[in-house]
């Protein structure tokens, strides 16, 4: 897992205190993206319901949520593609509207549902988009090379597979070397090899100083890449923090999984009494102990002392998936 840069908790319920206690070095500048009290209704459906979030300069921000939670709608309002019912969105401190498209010069955007003109080649497509962004089209070949489309540069986009269109989408987002990337499901529809290209690209761009927001429902990708995550459920942000802090807050503990010959579903006596152990469960030959990392060895020693044969053991760190499931389930979502 990456080193987490930001250690303070940002919970929806105590945002104000967060703003006060945040380390000055990180929050001295205004957030790159600020969403305040965003509502978006489609007829009677509340797609986004009082969403507040902020993205800081230089971070990779993972925007997570189940399908239909309002991720794309939020992203589209940030891009001024969709009009908010109410609420304010600022990018680089400029309130967003269909009139303030100049801020798009510095944003690379990948829509969730992407398509290009079928009758153009990727070179023609990117050349057209370079012209719109005021970028020199000499970069086109390099951009295609970067996403692995170098050898299909003269084929028509209409003949491309879904994954290739998606990669071309990543390439166009990099036009003009923007300082902010907003990527809606960048790994969606890609096979493993291409997911890797995109993942490496996101890292590389971030290392070169770009701020990156991407939405996803592939939790492992988010866990691997993100500094902070925002979790959205039913149109509202239920949490916004580093993965470590989310785990702490939700009391998600690392677990120790021990395989013991002949355990037969019974938790050995006294294991849950060891200091630092939160919980112990047995299923078949598998004993799962939630405990602090420092207590693991004591648990293993205790098992040995009881004359049990330890066939195998492994430690499991809390995953984003645990946090996610906890938060979007009803009791965990309550703040």
């Amino acid at each position: 897992m990456r080193t987490k840069r930001c250690e303070n908790e940002v919970w929806k319920s105590n945002k104000e205190s967060d703003l006060v206690t945040a380390p000055a070095a990180l929050n001295a500048e205004a957030p790159v993206i600020e969403v305040m009290g965003l509502h978006k209704n489609y007829d009677k459906v509340k797609a986004v319901n009082d969403l507040t979030m902020s993205v800081r300069k230089g971070e990779i921000y993972g925007f997570l949520g189940p399908n239909g939670a309002g991720k794309s709608t939020t992203i589209k309002t940030i891009m001024a593609l969709t009009h908010p019912t109410s609420g304010v969105i600022k990018v680089h401190n400029t309130p967003v509207s269909t009139k303030t498209v100049d801020i798009h010069k510095d944003i690379g955007y990948l829509p969730e549902k992407i398509s290009f003109y079928r009758n153009l080649t990727p070179v023609q497509t990117l050349t057209f988009l370079c012209e719109l962004k005021g970028a020199d089209p000499v970069v086109v070949d390099q951009l295609l090379e970067d996403v692995g489309l170098g050898d299909v540069s003269d084929r028509k986009v209409g003949t491309f597979s879904k994954g290739m269109v998606q990669l071309l989408g990543v390439a166009q987002a990099m036009i003009g070397d923007p300082s902010l990337y907003i990527l809606d499901e960048p790994m969606g529809g890609l096979d493993a090899r291409w997911v890797r290209i995109v993942r490496d690209k996101i890292r590389e761009l971030n290392e070169r100083g770009a701020t990156i927001v991407f939405s996803s429902h592939i939790l492992s990708e988010v866990q691997m890449l993100c500094d902070r995550v925002g979790i959205i459920n039913k149109g509202a942000l239920v949490a916004e923090d580093t993965i470590d802090n989310l785990s702490d807050h939700l009391e998600l503990r690392p677990r120790l999984e021990v395989t013991i010959t002949g355990l037969d579903g019974a938790v050995p006596d006294g294991i849950d009494a060891i200091e630092g152990v939160w919980n112990a469960d047995a299923e078949g030959d598998k004993l799962t102990v939630s405990c602090d990392a420092s207590s693991r060895i004591q648990v293993l020693v205790a098992l040995e002392r009881r004359g049990l044969t330890i066939k195998n053991f492994k430690t499991l760190d809390p995953t984003l998936e645990d946090a996610f499931v906890e938060l979007i389930s009803d009791h965990g979502g309550e703040q």
Partner: protein, 277 residues
């Protein structure tokens, strides 16, 4: 404010798209061929004069030009929205008004070029083979045809901005076309139902009531056809003597064309600006 740079980029793309997919060439050839065919038809086997050619040509071009314009325009916004390419385009530093104007001008140039070159080349061939060719009138006829194309382009692009889905804007385009072609029949129906009779048209001294003439401004095809008759001083069409009353003049018809072009563009812009992509 609308800036020229982004408008020009979109315009250029629309034109080069239609050059690349050979649409513009195909249309030009169709227009040129139709003009020659109309001339041979009017001349009874050999090339007829430009005035007779136009009388025959009009009945086809009045159908064809609107159809082509509707086809080029109906999906510009709704189609690209449905595909997802509009989301990419609008994530660039370009305003919605600039996208719309760029597309209108680009497609307008395609229609104008195909019409002017197609009708023009054939017209020159026909005109040179005759003496006393009314060049000015023919040039005016071409301009009116271009204007008709722009009019239907504007209205169909307005539909593309008003409707969420491509199929809905196509439906509206088809209705518009249908409306245009049956308008005359509907008018005559009303006229005959309110006491008019066919002999009012066929008699030596036809008496077409003023309100029928005044209502042609609601039907682009009819007003465009009337304008073409005015520029050639055509007084008979399809065997009927037609005398256009003085209050229906070229200036008012051209003015009506411009209203038909500008008003849908404004409506389209307002709808597009409000649209959620």
């Amino acid at each position: 404010m609308i800036e020229f740079g982004p408008v020009h980029t979109v315009l250029k793309k629309e034109v080069s798209d239609n050059i690349r997919n050979k649409w513009i060439i195909l249309l030009t050839i169709i227009f040129a061929f139709l003009t020659l065919a109309a001339s041979v038809l009017a001349g009874g086997g050999s090339l007829g004069g430009l005035e007779e050619t136009v009388t025959t040509l009009m009945s086809i071009s009045m159908i064809l030009i609107p159809l082509i314009s509707i086809m080029l325009g109906y999906s510009t916004i709704s189609g690209e929205d449905e595909d997802g390419s509009l989301a990419v385009l609008l994530s660039y530093p370009i305003k919605r008004g600039e996208v719309f104007i760029g597309k209108f001008l680009g497609l307008g140039i395609v229609i104008a070029l195909a019409t002017a070159v197609g009708f023009g080349v054939s017209g020159i061939v026909i005109g040179l083979s005759k003496s006393a060719t009314p060049w000015g009138s023919y040039a005016a006829f071409i301009s009116l045809s271009v204007l008709l194309g722009l009019l239907y382009l504007s209205v169909s692009m307005c539909f593309s901005a008003l409707f969420k889905r491509r199929v809905a804007s196509l439906g509206a385009g088809i209705l518009l076309f249908f409306w245009s072609t049956i308008y005359g029949t509907v008018l005559m129906g009303i006229y005959f139902a309110t006491g008019g009779s066919m002999s009012d048209f066929t008699s030596a001294n036809p008496t077409i009531p003023d309100w029928i003439w005044q209502s042609i401004y609601f039907s682009p095809m009819d007003m465009n056809q009337t304008a073409s008759m005015l520029v050639f001083n055509i007084e008979r069409a399809f065997g009927f003597a037609i005398e256009v009353p003085s209050f229906v003049d070229l200036a008012s018809i051209i003015g009506a064309h411009l209203v038909w072009i500008i008003v849908p563009l404004i409506i389209a812009y307002l709808a597009f600006e409000r649209r959620d992509i």
